[in-house]
């Protein structure tokens, strides 16, 4: 009987520890969120996808001998009620030179709309050489009912970009953020 009580105590202690471990691991799941950012920034020096920030306007020495094709793509997330297109589909550029291209977005509803554009560059490793100094993707855009707007993007490709990259695709996705912005 003494042994019984002993086992009971041992069980309680063990259960308490194991429950603590489980709770701790739940927290660890959440800790992975900031940890992921740290890994991206510090260890891999890689820009995390998401809302980008403007690059500083630096003057590079343009490389007139090289030509890179930049393609522009537009998508609207989950059939959001918008029109969104690029006025230029394709552009041949020289690394080191600045270019401006125009996009067009229109709110198709009768209500005010907040939308956020997220860029994506492929191939991925080319992204760090592709600098945007002006972009509608840096902040959330608000559109009045039925409003349509031209949205410029100014960019440069760093001439240090390795030879192998001949085509770069810049794709934007517009997310309808109206509901989240209201909250």
């Amino acid at each position: 009987m003494n042994k019984d009580i002993d086992t009971k105590q041992k069980n309680t202690r063990l259960v308490r520890t194991l429950v603590l471990v489980a709770v701790g691991m739940f927290g660890f799941g959440y800790a992975l969120v900031p940890l992921y950012d740290v890994m991206c920034d510090v260890v891999f020096k890689k820009e995390k996808p998401g809302i980008p920030v403007a690059a500083e306007e630096v003057s590079y020495k343009a490389d007139k001998n090289r030509e890179i094709t930049v393609e522009f793509m537009t998508t609207v997330n989950q059939a959001a009620p918008m029109e969104f297109r690029s006025e230029t589909k394709k552009l041949k550029i020289h690394p080191g030179e600045y270019y401006t291209v125009n996009f067009y977005a229109e709110n198709k509803t009768d209500k005010e709309m907040a939308a956020q554009a997220i860029p994506s560059i492929s191939p991925g490793p080319a992204a760090e050489y592709f600098k945007k100094t002006e972009c509608f993707c840096f902040t959330e855009q608000t559109f009045k009912a039925r409003e349509g707007r031209t949205l410029p993007v100014r960019f440069v490709v760093n001439p240090e970009i390795p030879e192998q990259y001949k085509t770069i695709t810049l794709a934007y996705t517009f997310f309808d953020n109206t509901e989240k912005s209201v909250k």
């Binding site: 069980n11 194991l18 739940f26 660890f28 799941g29 956020q116 953020n177």
Partner: protein, 538 residues
């Protein structure tokens, strides 16, 4: 049973009675054998529910074009099939075996926490029922795949919060089950049953228990983030709010990779228990088996991103996850070597449990090899999200985990019921399963290499032939499992009528304490600890 009642009159309320009368017995029971039975019966039922979904999938894929179901429902079927099989069939089956066998194997009177044991079972039932109820909700059951990747998963209709809550319940149930098993193994062993004398099934479950406690909360966290992203305006994974969907994949696979080992480690344990008995030799390399299990479990925490080679990780990440994944093949190879060496020059007999175990060793190894192929990051770009990976994980789960669960059923049914199963039908079940499982899954390697994506209801005609063969294999496999159902019911009701001995299998008493008990064992066993510890399995 009355003999047992007369023997003991200590103060524990659940010790001085036999089972409660009537159906209520199964609701309120805290007896490890009853709860083990509940888990096993429930998982067998879910095996057929999940199997039914697989039959719908294979019927739709029998020919190109849309035949029977709509794409949305098809995707619900692949999602629900996986969730039901993983959380409703395989995991509960092993918890059931743990409940029945661990106390009897380590000479304990019951599980350490009998009331919590009852609660974890009923939470499981609640979780799976909630999950199943999403099939009838507006917008349909979840169809974003069992991995629940956002943003796709967030397009689920009304079912989303219910599916997520179901995951919470299932996680809670698993964690409670794991705590119970660990407490039982640490605190309830009979005197003399040192850790390194425990049967390997007990060892593998001890390690699996720790895996579960470490990973289920992380999974619960990931789905909670999905929930708040959808309903409470957070942006963990929502790119428009500064989040990143790839983050979800990291969190999910931090859980997901160890999760596949939760399903395979107890499988290893049962195989290591059965093979020595029918080879009539001690297990080869007992301690190396223990260390291999522990290293597999440890490594499983540091390889998760091999599921994400194509998301655009930095090259250093790709390389690290590639080499770390390859490392897992070493302890796994040790195990396969040990099982083979155990059979080497043994006086083998080929009863149904042994047949299933041998098929496991061979076919699991094939699944391991395709895993190794996919661990090579540059090659995986071709295999990823094709039928090749479907073939890989079905080889590691069906002719491995499921076959070993079948083997366990045949091996222990005579002990549990006191009746012998019908060996002829058992062998028929084995041969039908072993042949059809290969007709079912082997062609999927070819389909994947040729580029057929997974999770699609319709496909290019170039894939037609192998899909038809695969479906035919699937129908034979599905139908063959009805034999198992028949055998289980038949055995419970008397089987061959032959009275089985305590040890059932020749010299089994040398391999485990459970064989020193009567068949069937009385409601309460080892209320006084056993004195002799068998060590032949070491």
């Amino acid at each position: 049973m009355s003999a047992v009642v007369a023997e003991h009159d200590d103060h524990h309320d659940d010790h001085d009675h036999g089972p409660a009368k009537g159906l209520l017995r199964w609701v309120i029971t805290t007896n490890h054998k009853d709860i083990g039975t509940l888990y096993l019966v429930f998982s067998l039922a879910m095996f057929f529910v999940g199997g039914g979904m697989a039959m719908i999938i294979r019927a739709e894929l029998f020919e190109p074009g849309l035949q029977f179901v709509q794409p949305q429902f098809f995707n619900s079927m692949t999602t629900m099939h996986a969730l039901v099989m993983v959380f409703g069939a395989v995991m509960p089956a092993f918890v059931g075996l743990a409940n029945w066998m661990i106390p009897m194997m380590i000479g304990a009177p019951d599980m350490a926490l009998p009331r919590m044991n009852n609660m974890s079972f009923w939470l499981l039932v609640a979780g799976v029922s909630l999950l199943a109820s999403t099939l009838f909700m507006e917008g349909g059951a979840p169809a974003g795949g069992w991995t629940m990747y956002p943003p796709l998963m967030l397009q689920t209709g009304k079912a989303l919060p219910f599916a997520i809550f179901a995951v919470h319940l299932l996680g809670l149930s698993s964690i409670m089950g794991a705590i119970n098993i660990i407490a039982t193994i640490f605190n309830m062993r009979a005197p003399g049953m040192t850790l390194m004398k425990m049967p390997l099934f007990v060892w593998t479950w001890l390690i699996t228990g720790f895996l579960l406690i470490a990973i289920m909360p992380v999974f619960a966290g990931a789905v909670t983030m999905l929930l708040t992203d959808k309903y409470f305006g957070t942006s963990f994974f929502d790119a428009a709010g500064g989040g990143d969907p790839v983050l979800y994949q990291h969190i999910f696979w931090f859980f997901g990779h160890p999760e596949v080992y939760v399903m395979i480690l107890p499988t290893f344990g049962v195989a290591s228990t059965i093979i020595p008995v029918f080879a009539r030799k001690p297990l080869f390399g007992y301690s190396s088996m223990v260390y291999a299990t522990a290293s597999i479990a440890f490594l499983s925490f540091v390889v998760w991103a091999h599921h994400m080679f194509t998301v655009g990780m930095p090259i250093a990440g790709e390389l690290y996850f590639m080499y770390a994944t390859m490392l897992i093949a070493i302890p796994t190879g040790v195990k396969v070597f040990n099982w083979t060496a155990t059979m080497w020059k043994g006086s083998m007999t080929f009863e149904t449990p042994m047949l299933f175990s041998i098929a496991f060793v061979v076919l699991f190894t094939m699944g391991g090899f395709t895993g190794l192929m996919m661990s090579i990051a540059p090659s995986d770009f071709q295999y990823h999200d094709t039928y090749f990976i479907v073939a890989h994980f079905h080889y590691t789960l069906v002719p491995a985990s499921i076959f070993i669960l079948m083997a366990a059923g045949y091996y222990w049914l005579p002990k549990w019921t006191g009746h012998m199963y019908n060996e002829k039908i058992g062998q028929l079940h084995f041969w039908l399963s072993a042949v059809s499982v290969n007709i079912l899954f082997f062609p999927q390697h070819f389909l994947g290499l040729a580029g057929m994506p997974r999770r699609i209801p319709d496909y290019a005609v170039q894939f037609a032939d192998w899909n038809m063969i695969s479906s035919i294999g699937g129908f034979i496999f599905g139908a063959s499992q009805l034999l198992f159902l028949y055998i289980v019911i038949d055995t419970i009701r008397g089987g061959t009528g032959e009275k089985v001995t305590d040890e059932v299998w020749e010299d089994a008493h040398k391999h485990g304490l459970e064989w020193t008990l009567p068949s069937p064992p009385p409601y309460h066993t080892f209320t006084t600890p056993p004195t002799v510890i068998p060590t032949e399995h070491i």
